[in-house]
Amino acid sequence: MNNASTPTCAASDVPSATPMPFTRLGFVRGVRDGLPLALSVAAFGSVFGVLANQAGLSALEAFLMSALVYAGSSQVVAMGLWHMPLPILPILLSTAIVNLRYVLMGVSFRPWLNGQPLHRVLLLLFTNGDGGSALAMRAWEAGDRDAAYLLGANAPSVVAWLAATVIGRTAGARIADPTRWGLDFAFTAVVLAALVGLWRGRASLSLVPWLAAGVVAFVSWRFLGGQWYIVLGGLAGALAGWVTYDR
């Protein structure tokens, strides 16, 4: 099997053909690097908890979503759509679209996790998040040879995400009038802040897809009704990224 064309292999240190070891020490190294990450994950998790409370999820439902889905952005987007009766199809479709980037993460893990047993790969993939995978990629490319590093890097975030969800949901329920304190704006504020983090500069990479998403979403929200503007906006962004690609 040849993975030489995968982007991660472009780094100076190419993964070897033999499977990486999976040790306790590697896990501990990952935890050490992943701990600061857990702080921002906890902040995001408590925000999700507050939004889940506003959307009407019980503490147990919010916890179950954080534990089973474990993908923050898609959970926040779902809270934006969470009105009774639940628009099931738009929720599921936007979950798929937001989480398509995990497909790419799986692709980039392939050369590094080749030869690992199935149960271990599943464990690594299902506890994975944006921050932990970035840490692991950096560590592996810098020469760390341990698959358990990835699990360790993600472990503090998993704990933080679950705990913060419950704390945010419980704290949110104690605030009597969310609008008075501006908390109804929390959703928009989170999304705006997340977008700032995703901005990659005007050179086609962000500008055209973002504009396309905004225009298509606005037109379909205004004239189509329902919740389809979200899915259509996402697809328009992807299409614009495809069309404007020029390298």
Binding site: L125, V191, G237, A240, Y245
Partner: protein, 101 residues
């Protein structure tokens, strides 16, 4: 502590879709790497859907929400931190609503 059956179904559905996304890249693209163009298209989707989600709020949020939104973006650029940007935005909108009816 209740779980609504419909809510549980949607949560499980979201979990299943996310699980497939997590696993599919590792196995499906094991032999054929996706083209860089396809990668850009996939990567464009996450910000695109986040933009789409806030379209109604942008469209009829009013002046207070607009100004608070600008404050949130500035705070996010300066602090590079989700939580501080969020606090700035929420406090700004609460104050602005008092000033701007």
């Amino acid at each position: 502590m209740t779980v609504d059956p419909t809510v549980l179904t949607v949560i499980v559905g979201m979990a299943a879709i996310t699980a497939i996304a997590r696993a599919i890249g590792f196995w499906l693209f094991a032999r054929v790497a996706p083209s860089p163009r396809f990668e850009v298209a996939l990567k464009s989707m996450t910000p695109a859907i986040l933009i789409a989600v806030i379209v109604p709020e942008v469209a009829h949020g009013g002046l207070a929400a607009w100004l608070a939104g600008i404050a949130t973006v500035i705070a996010a650029i300066v602090s590079r931190q989700l939580l501080s940007a969020l606090i700035v935005g929420v406090v700004a909108v609460a104050l602005l609503r008092v000033v701007i009816p």
